[in-house]
């Protein structure tokens, strides 16, 4: 891959260090601009009217009083947006359906959840916009609603879409329901498998919907010009995807919309979709002024995608010696008001870390009157893992085997089968288990009311399209641009890989994120894909610029380009026969660029494949207060195969962050609805995410089993770490109390009820 460079044999100068990130100073001084930090002269403020009802037909909307309020420049309803054809586009698992998407952005026939956007107002001040919202009159016909996934599947449940016939069922049902689809993966012979088992456990579990919980509410600023050209500043995980969705929903040509990547205050998957952008653009188009929108925290909880809650039954059979022989999982995930829960992921990931010859997973995608679900860190996988990893723990106890050793015995490696078809392509899972077995605290004895639990998790990790461009400044410094939004420090990782490939100091590389008009397509920053796929584009661009630099040097020396090598940041003669030439730095070559041909630039693009999945194995120690049911995390150790840690501190940070989100998911987070289907805890006070005083230091172990398909061995890190924590904690609670909790969150009232139950 590295052509004509003297290769540094796995000893890196830049890769593997943890320098300060290029966007660091702006972020610690408050200078960095996030989605809500942009302003333009003449800017209007927009507010959104939201449904107070969980399920209602919209009979009419009267905006006349709002329009008459002084200071109001425009009122928007779905009538201002083109209708979309009903069609699932793209992969079945995450198919985009613009008919659904436009209705989620602004309701048409029905309000399908409390908080569903009904109309929007743009006014000269935020206060006037808020006043105008209250003047919009909506005639609702309130309908019965349904929230819970099991209830929504009931034949008598209120139906959200009168024409929804479940897909994936033969013969197709005759009655509409809330079940969007059924899917199934199957390998081997389940009956024979279970017949051969010495121990079988079958159990049902429930998880609650949880929000990604990013601290920054959705925000954007749009400026639509009289020439049909629009600029949009948006905090998202993928400005190219924002451009595509927004243009489609507005009926605009993609080329007429430029999206600038604002810094983003957290996403975790929840900002790979659009909510406010189409509204801001439409209002800007209607008013001829720039329009700014910032969602309130309450609206973020009521109207943006959490991940699904799920209801599942898991059955696993094992032999006395610990060999897993059969597994069956049925997973029902609630998608919110429109189809698209991550149920396929849940079904594919559930048993993926284990070699099991007979496996079946069945999934149901179910709609109900709550906000449409969106991706959340390894979407779907944490949900099914809760059930699977809990059952494995019960089986380990039944056969008297250490739960880590049970996993190790059945651990997949390269060549092992997957439940969804192809073989596994990479090692790495067993190494994460071993890291914990070797951990000095793993066998440390615990005290009263304390218990230790383990769990593992799997996530695919992504590849896909990325572009990187490089140019050499006149002083020899390097400018590197990609189109990958920087959520967690990727500018630094890209610069490290570039510095390593070029053989120059990290400090000489300027790493930036370019807007949609300035660089080729980049897929979202999500799916743990950026360090891998955009990294590949960066390395390829570096290799191309090295070819150029060699060529320029050869011209400067007037020799054949074959006589020039690139080593440690310098062009050097390949050997004495080429001539006695001093090595040329980037600075020296850049100084002569005009006479050697002009600016030194290049670009590289990939549609990357060859990525390796993520495996994480974790153990945690808890103490349960028998009087309150409160669970305290005493210790949490998470091992993850990262392939190669380009920036070790950022890899650790990803593991810390995912684990703590998992702790919140396990112990506290849920949506509490009242009898009218309205959300009671739409704020950070009562939607309680972990705070600093809840937690000990989380210990992250970076296991490195390099991915041979990437020049630096990279494997995606961001997501796999959120998959195990819920089960690890449930298993720890069981060891501490003797009680098995099967419903999330395992909040104090639930734990107390379990302890007190006979």
């Amino acid at each position: 891959m590295l052509t004509n460079t003297k290769n540094i044999e796995q000893v890196f100068k830049s890769v593997g260090t943890s320098p300060i990130r290029p966007d660091g100073v702006p972020k610690v001084t408050g200078m960095a601009q996030y989605g809500a930090d942009y302003s333009l002269p003449g800017m209007l403020w927009a507010k959104i009217l939201r449904s107070p009802h969980a399920h209602a037909r919209i009979r009419s909307i009267n905006t006349s009083k709002a329009e008459a309020l002084p200071g109001v420049k425009a009122v928007l309803t779905s009538a201002d947006l083109p209708n979309q054809t009903f069609d699932y586009i793209g992969p079945e698992r995450v198919a985009v359906n613009y008919w659904h998407m436009t209705r989620n952005v602004m309701a048409r026939e029905k309000a399908l959840y409390e908080g569903h956007a009904i109309a929007a107002v743009a006014a000269t001040t935020a206060a006037i916009a808020a006043e105008a919202i209250a003047l919009i009159e909506v005639d609702y016909e309130v309908l019965p609603h349904v929230i819970d996934v099991d209830e929504a599947m009931h034949p008598d449940a209120p139906v959200l879409f009168e024409d929804m016939i479940t897909r994936g069922v033969e013969p197709a049902p005759t009655k509409p329901s809330n079940i969007t689809k059924r899917l199934e993966f199957k390998v081997g012979d389940l009956d024979a498998g279970f017949a051969a088992a010495d121990e079988i456990v079958e159990m049902s579990f429930k998880t609650a919907a949880v929000h990604q919980g990013y601290i920054e509410p959705h925000s954007c600023l749009a400026r639509y010009g009289a020439d049909g050209q629009c600029e949009l500043w948006s905090a998202s995980q993928g400005h190219f995807v924002v451009r595509a969705y927004t243009a489609k929903l507005l009926g605009m040509e993609i080329g007429n919309l430029v999206v600038h990547p604002a810094e983003i205050g957290g996403g975790f998957g929840g900002k790979t979709v659009v909510y406010v952008e189409p509204i801001a653009v439409a209002l800007s188009r209607k008013t001829g002024h720039p329009v700014k929108i910032m969602m309130s925290r309450e609206d973020v909880f009521k109207a943006t995608g959490p991940t699904s809650g799920g209801s599942m039954t898991v059955k696993i059979g094992v032999k006395k010696d610990g060999t897993l022989v059969a597994a069956d999982g049925v997973f029902k995930l609630q998608a919110g008001a429109f189809p698209g829960s991550p149920v396929m992921n849940a079904a594919m990931c559930a048993f993926a870390p284990y070699i099991i010859p007979n496996v079946r997973t069945v999934g149901f995608d179910v709609v109900s009157n709550r906000p449409k679900s969106a991706a959340y860190r390894a979407p779907g996988s944490p949900i099914s893992a809760f059930g699977v990893e809990s059952v494995l723990d019960i089986l380990a106890q039944k056969i008297g085997m250490d739960p880590l050793r049970l996993r190790l015995k059945n651990a997949v490696k390269a060549g092992s089968p997957t439940p969804y078809g192809p073989k596994h392509s990479h090692d790495g899972y067993a190494e994460t288990i071993q890291a914990l077995l070797d951990h000095p605290e793993y066998n440390k004895p615990l005290g009263k009311n304390q218990g230790r639990g383990v769990a593992s998790g799997f996530w695919f990790n992504g590849g896909g399209e990325s572009t990187a461009s490089i140019h050499i400044n006149e002083d020899g410094s390097v400018v590197l641009a990609t189109g990958s939004m920087d959520v967690g420090g990727s500018r630094a990782s890209m610069a490290l890989m570039a510095a390593e490939t070029l053989g120059v100091p990290y400090a000489s590389v300027r790493s930036t994120v370019a807007d949609t008009a300035s660089i080729g397509y980049n897929h979202v920053t999500g799916g743990s894909r950026v360090t891998y796929a955009t990294g590949l584009a960066v390395v390829e661009a570096c290799n191309k610029i090295i070819e150029q630099l060699r060529l320029r040097a050869s011209i400067m020396w007037d020799v054949d380009v074959k006589g020039v090598v690139w080593e440690d940041g310098f062009a050097k003669p390949a050997d004495k026969s080429v001539g006695e030439f001093e090595p040329l730095s980037l600075k020296a070559i850049a100084a002569k660029r005009a006479v050697t041909g002009g600016p030194i630039v290049t670009e590289a693009a990939v549609n990357a494949g060859g990525q390796a999945p993520g495996f994480s194995t974790q153990f945690c120690d808890v103490e349960v207060d028998p009087e309150t049911g409160a669970v305290k995390i005493l210790r949490f150790v998470a091992a993850q195969d990262v392939g190669r840690a380009i920036h070790p501190k950022y890899c650790e940070g990803q593991i810390h962050g995912g684990v703590v989100q998992g702790i919140g998911w396990a112990l506290n987070e849920e949506y509490i609805y009242d009898k009218q289907g309205r959300l009671s805890n739409a704020g950070f006070l009562d939607y309680r995410i972990p705070v600093a005083s809840d937690l000990p230091m989380i210990e992250a172990i970076l296991v490195e089993v390099p991915n041979p398909n990437h020049p630096y061995g990279v494997k995606g890190v961001g997501e796999a770490n959120i998959v195990p924590p819920m089960a690890a904690i449930a298993n720890a609670i069981q060891r501490a109390t003797g009680k098995r909790l099967t419903e999330l969150p395992m909040s104090p009232p639930k734990v107390l009820a379990a302890i007190d139950a006979v």
Partner: protein
């Protein structure tokens, strides 16, 4: 090879095929000849696992001899 769900939707449940092709384009064309229209679905909806290693669908990718080629649902994350 195809997953069960995909095959149920597009190939009457047939999941395994023997194809002679040297590139991904060759595989897709061959599948499209067997089931007209299938090619577009494969392009739009799947990722490709060649001997287990996952790739996006790219026409020019070489398929080694005797490789197992599995079309799986395309991967997205969060």
């Amino acid at each position: 090879m195809l997953t069960g769900g995909f095959s149920r939707r597009y190939t009457d449940g047939v999941r395994e095929f023997e194809i002679a092709a040297r590139t991904v384009r060759g595989v897709i064309s061959a599948m499209d000849r067997l089931y007209p229209g299938l090619g577009e679905h494969l392009e739009e909806e799947t990722s490709l696992a060649v001997n287990g290693v996952i790739h996006e669908v790219v026409y020019t990718q070489i398929i080694p001899a005797d490789a197992e080629v599995f079309f799986i649902p395309r991967i997205e994350g969060g």
